[in-house]
């Protein structure tokens, strides 16, 4: 689904002259997202300077010679740090959602298909995980594991686990009540076969759609954790941490804090719109 919608949109966007304003608006979030991914992938070649070691004069203003967006307090090129900072944002948000989708999806699949007491116990465990505000759960995970890129990914994944576990459980329980599952069980197939071969393929699509809609949330949570000082260790470039560093210079150079945050916001907005389009398509597909 994700592919076909993307391809259709890409094809429509590629139609060039026949591009209608509506189609352009539809394609825009996908193009912005693609731009972010490209910029992150090509950061080492696009960045004009080294993002970690500062060799220039500190606190240069925007549009100064050789430093389009100026330099920070340590003489590091802001543009280069922004470009490299895209990488942890993408890695963490996509990685965390993939992890949460896999683990939460599997958990919900087992719970919903099994039913009965197993289901009840498994869902109460999720209720307890839900009894923490999401960001609090993530902060606790990081407090236990210590700050690193992998641990931020794990922390964000844990905070999103309940979303997928609950959705997968509801979908699986719905499928488990259907005749084809009854037939598979009556035919004597083992329970793992019923889960993986019968139920799983039928709940995969809505789960993937849900995954797209929470990428933005993952990016925002990860950025907030970095901002709080619990994420990537300096001097590695990271957008959330750049906002924190920039805040200390707010009265001299507000752009140092505002630019990295703007990038996070644009990325989150773009992926939110992508997720919305897929969810709309899924709803229409479900109704038909």
């Amino acid at each position: 689904m994700a592919d076909t919608a993307g391809q259709k949109l890409a094809a429509r966007a590629g139609a060039g002259l026949r591009l209608s304003p509506g189609a352009a608006l539809t394609a825009l979030p996908w193009m912005v997202t693609a731009l972010f991914v490209l910029a992150a992938l090509l950061a080492p070649w696009l960045a004009p300077h080294d993002p970690v070691t500062g060799r220039a004069a500190p606190m240069q203003q925007m549009f100064s010679d050789g430093h389009l967006l100026g330099t920070d307090a340590l003489g590091r090129d802001t543009l280069s740090r922004l470009l490299h900072g895209l990488r942890p944002m993408l890695v963490v948000s996509l990685g965390a959602v993939a992890l949460a989708l896999a683990a939460g999806g599997a958990y919900g699949l087992v719970s919903g298909t099994a039913g009965g007491r197993t289901d009840w116990a498994m869902m109460r465990a999720v209720d307890i995980l839900m009894s923490f505000p999401l960001i609090l759960a993530a902060i606790l995970v990081l407090a236990a594991l210590g700050p690193s890129l992998l641990n931020v990914t794990l922390a964000v994944a844990v905070s999103q686990l309940p979303i997928f576990a609950r959705l997968a459980r509801a979908l699986a329980a719905g499928e488990a009540a259907r005749d084809y599952v009854l037939a598979a069980r009556a035919a004597g197939f083992p329970e793992w076969h019923v889960m993986l071969r019968e139920v799983a393929p039928n709940i995969a699509r809505p789960l993937l759609v849900q995954a797209t809609s929470v990428v933005a949330l993952a990016a925002l949570t990860a950025a907030a954790l970095s901002y709080l000082g619990l994420g990537v260790r300096p001097p590695a470039p990271d957008l959330g941490y750049m906002v924190k560093e920039g805040q200390e210079l707010l009265f001299i150079a507000p752009e140092q804090a505002l630019l990295p945050g703007l990038l996070i916001a644009v990325f989150a907005l773009a992926v939110s719109f992508c997720g919305d389009q897929l969810a709309d398509a899924e709803r229409r597909g479900g109704a038909a």
Binding site: D127, F132, L136, I139, A216, A224, L228, L230, L258, G261
Partner: protein, 337 residues
């Protein structure tokens, strides 16, 4: 209904017990590091051991856990490893600050979210609807901490209208009684506190309130539009009920339930958002206390703060859920899930 309340309340201690255990385990995963931080200045082995014994970190994990649980039952949250202050006292000072901020944020969220949602639902598909939906999406996608900084830049730095940091200016003497400024102002006859307090509260509350308003707007809009399509609304229109009356007495009244639930559930998001907002605005609430404690590995403080926040969250969700069931007669008759 009564059985449902009883069932939920009976489950409450179980939830709290597991929450307390999880918090304990999460923060004891690296037990040596507080001591390492404290002892870095005097590195003799003897002093280090003495410190470990003093903090009770030389006990086996299960014994530490039993001590912790025993103290917890008696309402003792322990002492800060670093300042030696009583954690329960620290919570008493900082929790009211966070509750003030969460309630103020809730007010902002309700006014903005409901206003936008109802305005958009009045004419679905119109230009106004499209614009409001875009704004809602944008508000949702804003990083909270960055939005806070943007507000500081605009309203403190450029316009100079509002203070950017803290809860009260240092020039004001404030002797807390309940630690809720508004209540204290009334109790101790200090109306002069209210102005500066509100000025400091405005930017953090706007930050948390506006970034959560997007979600409420979308749900309020969807709720009103869906209810408007139901048969009884059509019947009301066919009877010739005035459009305003149809909207307020029929549509809004029935959509209100779902909307109220969302507001209650968003209160949890407010607590999370206030953690970040408190750090941005140097606001002395329990969220900032917890983050500082995690950064300095002051387990007792981090544990106490996390526990109190989680308990508050559980209670708010429970009350919301029960209020929802109480308000909707259809759910009152149905047996529990």
């Amino acid at each position: 209904m009564i059985a449902e309340i009883a069932r939920r309340l009976a489950f409450l201690p179980v939830t709290l017990f597991v929450v307390a255990t999880l918090v304990f385990l999460a923060l004891r995963a690296l037990p040596g590091s507080t001591v390492d931080m404290l002892a870095s200045s005097f590195s003799t082995a003897g002093l280090r051991d003495q410190l470990i014994a003093q903090l009770g970190l030389d006990q086996p994990l299960w014994k530490q856990y039993l001590i912790y649980m025993g103290e917890l039952v008696r309402g003792d949250l322990g002492r800060s490893f670093i300042t030696g202050r009583d954690v329960a006292t620290m919570v008493g000072e900082t929790l009211p600050v966070t509750i003030e901020l969460a309630v103020a944020s809730l007010v902002v969220m309700m006014v903005v979210g409901l206003g936008m949602g109802l305005a958009a639902a009045a004419r679905p598909g119109s230009l106004l609807d499209g614009a409001l939906r875009f704004i809602a999406m944008a508000l949702f996608a804003l990083p909270w901490f960055w939005f806070g900084i943007l507000m500081i830049v605009v309203f403190s730095l450029w316009l100079g209208w509002l203070p950017a940091f803290g809860r009260l200016p240092s020039s004001v003497t404030y002797e807390p009684v309940t630690n809720f400024v508004l209540i204290d102002a009334i109790l101790t006859g200090r109306p002069d506190l209210i102005g500066p307090w509100l000025a400091h509260l405005t930017l953090p509350a706007l930050t948390v309130g506006l970034t959560t308003a997007g979600m409420l707007m979308r749900l309020a809009r969807a709720g009103v539009i869906e209810t408007g399509r139901l048969d009884f609304v059509r019947t009301a229109r066919m009877k010739g009920v005035a459009p305003g009356r149809v909207f307020f007495r029929h549509v809004l009244r029935n959509a209100a339930l779902g909307i109220l639930t969302v507001i209650g559930l968003q209160f949890g998001a407010m607590l999370g958002g206030s953690v970040v907002a408190e750090v941005v605005f140097g606001y002395p609430g329990i969220g900032r206390m917890m983050v500082d404690a995690v950064l300095t590995r002051d387990y007792a403080v981090a544990q106490g703060a996390a526990l109190v926040l989680a308990v508050l969250y559980v209670l708010v969700n429970l009350v919301t859920d029960l209020a929802y069931r109480w308000a909707d007669p259809r759910l009152r008759r149905e047996p529990g899930r």
